[in-house]
């Protein structure tokens, strides 16, 4: 068990960058901030690769099983003798894998932003926020304590809030950032209560201990948590479901997904980092982290499965109708995460049945790369066209060949066409689904088809369709790279191109990683093989879908309109995202504010405070009413005097004793 303490530097470096740029950035590093950020992150990335090498190939394995290694653990806040918040570093397959993903994608984004954000007024601030996010995300994945997860969870949320609202004087951006934060906050409430439940019955907040206690069916903790029940469900179910609620919030699962599309108001690289590759998969990571406990409770897993599957399908359908390219990507992200979720949901803990777990992680891994590639590609497109709308694009393939190529590859990857990355991971998921649950399998298959359809709809609309009209400038509100209009046309700066190329390589390559050797639910290597016969169906479906969308969108024609007409009401419903946003608006604007907030505010002024006023006023009224007592007539005074005498005498001579 060798020393992994140096991993501490991986999150600390971005933190240092954040502090440095946050405090002095706008004064001293207005220009150099990007370099500083990228450099420090490069270091972290290298470190994490070193860690990965050491863990996976040198001393992670003890007789064939990958160990959970606690590299560091420090009691941060003691609640009671055995309940405390610890800060620490856990080293196990998924955390190391996530290290790789987060650092490398983040590095790519840093690199890309060098060109993309060049000349921004708050350049330094931007990099400070990026570093803050990276730090929080790394802290999250390294957590040893469920409360540590929660803390970094919140931090991730707030840095996402800051980055979405980066263009702070743009109302839509502000609204979007608010929405993102509040929705996820609402989900986190569930997470928090879930933690409280787990902590109370498990008697600890330490993830390792918690798993240990709650996975042995006869441990007192397990008995108590399963015996205690509320509204018919056992406390275990409640706890896990609530925790999953938190995950669903971050990972934009239905019905908590509404913030993700709006979050695209942020700078595109940010979307690539946070809302494609890293933060949004935190939910998946959380479930995976607690998977042994989840696997003890069928109900919770079922919920995970169906929420995931439904989100995947819903998102895919909506994605087919959107015209804002970033929104399309956002929905595809949601759909892919749905994939990962239900893959976890149908999985068992350990052995062959643990395939789903491994598949899910695998998909997470590959998805991170091709999805960020897609976003960055979209970024450079937007950077060129100054618009997010498909109608402003078309025929760009000649103007930006590199972008075009990389985008195409990414699309193939996500569509699951061999030999690109997406194929392998998706294949595993489908296999797992096929074995566990046919219904889910069907949904997955259909979603896969839809995926390739809308991805290529996107692709063709951007790069083919009309002829090169890209010179058209639309400097309207959508433009989020307005800082530099003229100087950079074509495909943006070298760094941007470089980034695209690197990621393209990944999108092609990462599929060949023998993933199942490293990451499985129980740490034992798992033999998987691509069964060609099995693969026929999904691949074929995808290709058909691609051809369909080609016929619709490759050239301008009316087929698509006919199709739209065919679906009619369903299409417009999907286009309106099935009115989920409207529902939320109705609940907040029509119920919470007018029916709860205002009455309370009113009651506070008029009833509670009014009561105090009433006291004062009655006192004054009484004093005004009895002023006649002081009539000014000395004879009345004498009379009252005598009255007093009589009263006292009667009281104390006759009544008192």
């Amino acid at each position: 068990m060798s020393n992994y303490l140096y991993i501490l530097w991986i999150p600390l470096l971005p933190l240092a960058t954040f502090v440095l740029l946050g405090l002095f950035g706008r004064k001293y590093f207005a220009k150099t901030a990007g370099i500083i950020g990228t450099a420090s992150l490069l270091t972290s990335t290298l470190l994490s690769f070193v860690a990965a090498k050491q863990y996976f190939f040198e001393d992670g394995k003890v007789n064939g099983v990958y160990q959970k290694i606690i590299a560091l653990k420090y009691t941060w806040l003691q609640f009671s003798p055995n309940v405390s918040i610890d800060m620490g570093i856990i080293v196990d397959p998924i955390s190391v894998m996530m290290l790789i993903v987060v650092t490398s994608v983040s590095l790519m984004v840093h690199l890309f932003s060098l060109g993309y954000m060049k000349g921004e007024e708050r350049f330094a601030t931007y990099y400070a926020f990026l570093s803050l996010f990276t730090f929080s995300m790394l802290g999250l994945i390294l957590s040893v304590n469920i409360f540590q997860v929660y803390m970094f969870w919140e931090l991730v949320g707030v840095s996402s809030f800051l980055l979405i609202g980066y263009y702070f004087n743009k109302p839509s951006a502000v609204a979007a950032s608010k929405k993102a934060f509040i929705v996820t906050r609402f989900a986190d409430l569930g997470f928090l209560i879930g933690i409280l439940i787990m902590g109370f019955y498990g008697g600890t907040l330490d993830i390792g201990l918690l798993i240990e206690k709650l996975t042995s069916a006869q441990s007192p903790e397990f008995l108590s948590i399963t015996s205690a029940s509320f509204l018919g469900a056992s406390m275990l179910t409640w706890g896990l479901t609530l925790i999953f609620m938190g995950g669903a919030g971050k990972s934009a699962m239905f019905p908590l997904h509404i913030w993700l599309p709006d979050a695209m108001e942020g700078p595109t690289p940010v979307s690539a980092l946070i809302h494609a590759a890293t933060m949004v998969v935190a939910g998946v990571y959380l479930v995976a982290r607690l998977f042994p406990v989840f696997s003890m409770d069928e109900a919770a897993l079922t919920i995970v499965t169906y929420v995931g599957a439904f989100s995947a399908l819903l998102a895919a359908v909506i994605a087919c109708t959107q015209t804002d390219i970033k929104r399309v990507l956002a929905y595809s992200t949601m759909s892919q995460i749905g994939y990962m979720m239900f893959a976890l949901g149908i999985s068992k803990n350990g052995g062959e049945a643990g395939l789903g777990y491994m598949a899910s992680m695998f998909h997470l891994f590959t998805h991170a790369f091709f999805k960020s590639l897609l976003f960055l590609g979209a970024g450079s497109v937007i950077h060129m066209v100054h618009s997010n709308e498909m109608k402003d694009m078309g025929g760009l393939r000649k103007l930006m060949p590199i972008t075009h190529a990389s985008f195409l590859i990414a699309c193939l990857a996500i569509a699951g066409i061999p030999p690109f990355a997406g194929f392998f991971s998706k294949e595993e998921i489908l296999t797992a689904a096929f074995h566990e649950n046919k219904l889910i399998y069907g949904v997955a298959l259909f979603t896969a088809a839809l995926t390739s359809f809308y991805m290529f709809r996107l692709y063709f609309n951007i790069f083919w369709s009309k002829d090169a009209v890209a010179k058209a400038h639309h400097n309207d509100g959508h433009d989020d790279a307005h800082a530099h209009d003229k100087e950079s046309h074509g495909e943006g700066t070298l760094t941007m191109k470089l980034t695209l190329l690197i990621l393209t390589a990944c999108a092609i390559g990462v599929g060949f990683v023998p993933f199942s050797q490293f990451i499985t639910s129980d740490g034992l290597a798992l033999e998987t093989h691509i069964d060609l016969v099995f693969s026929i169906a999904p691949v074929a479906l995808s290709i058909i879908a691609i051809l369909l969308s080609a016929s619709f969108y490759k050239t301008q024609n009316t087929k698509s309109d006919k199709a739209v007409a065919l679906f009619g009401g369903f299409y417009s419903a999907a286009y309106k995202k099935f009115y989920v946003d409207e529902l939320y608006l109705f609940i907040t604007k029509k119920i919470v504010f007018p029916l709860i907030g205002q009455p309370i505010a009113w009651a506070d002024r008029n009833i509670v405070d009014g009561f105090m006023l009433l006291l004062a006023n009655t006192t004054e009224k009484i004093s005004a009413a009895i002023k006649g007592l002081q009539s000014g007539k000395v004879q009345n005074y004498a009379l009252y005097f005598f009255g007093g005498v009589i009263a006292l005498s009667i009281l104390f001579i006759y009544i008192w004793k």
């Binding site: 609640f79 970094f152 702070f168 608010k178 709860i596 309370i600 004062a616």
Partner: protein, 493 residues
């Protein structure tokens, strides 16, 4: 170290202020005095820690007990435990910040600073006194300066607010007084330590606890008696609001805590009422805040909600929750002070506190906006800031009570963090972000004194938020001692 220094320093400062001539002198003296105060508090902390480290396990350190009114067995008995010390540090910080933000107070500056210092003296005296009479004395010392500060230097319908505040607080202290009489004539002593040792008979506790708890509760904005908070805070000048929310409301919470420890049986048997009121205060305050349009009102109502956590923690009557309550007091003190400071800075520049009339301030006053955002994030309980630590501790403590009703109360209170997020983000989104209006486009950023003040408070917030084990280590022994009595009472049931 003789604790009386904590009272004498402000007194001296006040006198010097009376003697000094112009604003320049006054504020320098005020600042020097408050800094000396802060230094004294810090030094006290060091000594305290040394003592503890040296293995001095006495409940109260630096005790001095001198007879005051011999005939009535009233003693000037002072001493501090961790909780009191935490409060003292909080007060010292807030006082310095308050003096700094009122650096350019032209109107009747002498009286203004004099009253500020007097108010702080009341607070210090309150926190160090172990004799109930002395406690009561200092409690009331702190009331009248508030009245004058709000009434003279305030804004809006200041007279009414000042009057309302003074009268409600006085009503509170009247209740406290009755309770004290009850204790006095049943134990023939005002000395908290003595009384704690000899204990109070159950009947007496049951009868007088409501008086005392309600009395102090009014100071801590307990639910139906909180209406002085919004008006008072909103009308008060910046520094006064900071003192009010940062220090004065803590007097109430601290008093409630002490009383609960003094009569644990009663506290235990009334705990469900306390918790009920606290929960109402938390959620009700949060929703009321959501509807406010004036920045100061927003913060004032959120104070009601946050102080609810203090009461909740006390009502839950277990170690963790009481720890949480104490941390929440400190945290809320710093945070609200910071918030009011930020609002004051904005108001002094834009001359409006209406959310609707502000916007995009981040462009022209990045520092102030950052302060504002930090205060906001702290108040919605973001990890890394003190608010998170406090609230989580309270929740953890509250959750330890497996009774269903308490669970529901906890969940409801926890739900308030969402509402908090809503109103904080609305305020931030409207004032700090968004497009800026033209007449604000040329305003300047914070001056050195404002930066210093804000920095001080932020440092405090961060220390608690990033290294909670420090404050925990400070207050833990104290709560342990409080719990001895309380646990005895609970196990009796």
């Amino acid at each position: 170290m003789n604790l009386s220094l904590l009272i004498l320093l402000p007194l001296l400062t006040a006198l010097l202020i009376l003697l000094s001539k112009n604003l320049a002198q006054i504020r320098v003296i005020g600042l020097a005095g408050s800094l000396a105060q802060l230094g004294a508090a810090g030094w006290l902390l060091k000594l305290f820690m040394d003592q503890r480290a040296a293995g001095n396990t006495a409940t109260y350190l630096f005790e001095t007990n001198t007879v005051w009114f011999k005939a009535l067995n009233i003693n000037y008995h002072i001493g501090i435990d961790g909780i009191a010390l935490a409060m003292i540090l909080l007060s010292a910080l807030v006082v310095v910040a308050g003096i700094l933000v009122s650096w350019t107070m032209e109107k009747l500056s002498k009286e203004y600073f004099f009253l500020l210092v007097l108010l702080s003296m009341g607070a210090y005296g309150f926190f160090i006194s172990l004799d109930l009479f002395t406690l009561f004395f200092f409690l009331e010392v702190a009331v009248i300066p508030k009245f004058l500060l709000i009434g003279i230097w305030g804004s809006g319908k200041k007279e009414n607010s000042a009057m309302k505040l003074a009268l409600m607080l006085m009503a509170g202290s009247a209740l406290v007084f009755v309770g004290l009489m009850g204790i006095y004539y049943n134990t023939h002593s005002f000395d908290m330590v003595q009384i704690g040792q000899m204990g109070i008979s159950l009947g007496v506790q049951k009868f007088f606890f409501p008086f005392l708890f309600l009395g102090f509760g009014i100071f801590a904005a307990l639910f139906p008696f909180h209406t002085w908070v919004p008006d008072g805070h909103a009308s008060a000048p910046t520094a006064a609001s900071m003192f009010l929310a940062g220090i004065s409301m803590k007097l109430g919470g601290y008093g409630c805590l002490r009383m609960a420890a003094l009569m644990p049986d009663a506290a235990h048997s009334y705990s469900w009422i306390i918790i009920l009121l606290a929960t109402i205060a938390i959620i009700y305050g949060a929703f009321a805040t959501m509807m406010q349009t004036d920045l100061k009102y927003i913060n004032a109502y959120s104070s009601i909600s946050h102080c609810g956590f203090v009461i909740l923690g006390i009502g839950m009557l277990n170690k963790t929750s009481i720890n949480g309550a104490v941390i929440q007091m400190v945290s809320h003190g710093l945070m609200t002070a910071l918030f009011f400071a930020a609002i004051g800075m904005i108001y002094s520049r834009t001359h409006t506190r209406m959310v609707a009339q502000l916007g995009g301030l981040l462009k022209v006053m990045p520092f102030i906006s950052t302060v504002f955002v930090i205060a906001g994030l702290c108040s919605l309980g973001l990890p890394g800031f003190s608010g998170f630590v406090a609230e989580m501790t309270v929740f953890m403590g509250a959750w330890q009570n497996p009774d269903g009703v308490y669970r529901i109360a906890t969940v409801i209170s926890a739900a308030s963090i969402v509402v908090t997020a809503v109103y904080i983000l609305r305020a931030t989104g409207k004032t700090i972000m968004g497009p800026i209006s033209d007449e604000h486009a040329l305003l300047g950023d914070a001056t050195w004194n404002e930066k210093f003040a804000a920095g001080l408070l932020i440092v405090g917030i961060l220390i608690i938020g990033l290294a909670p084990f420090l404050i925990n280590q400070l207050i833990m022994p104290a709560t342990d001692f409080l719990m001895i009595n309380i646990d005895k009472a609970i196990t009796l049931k």
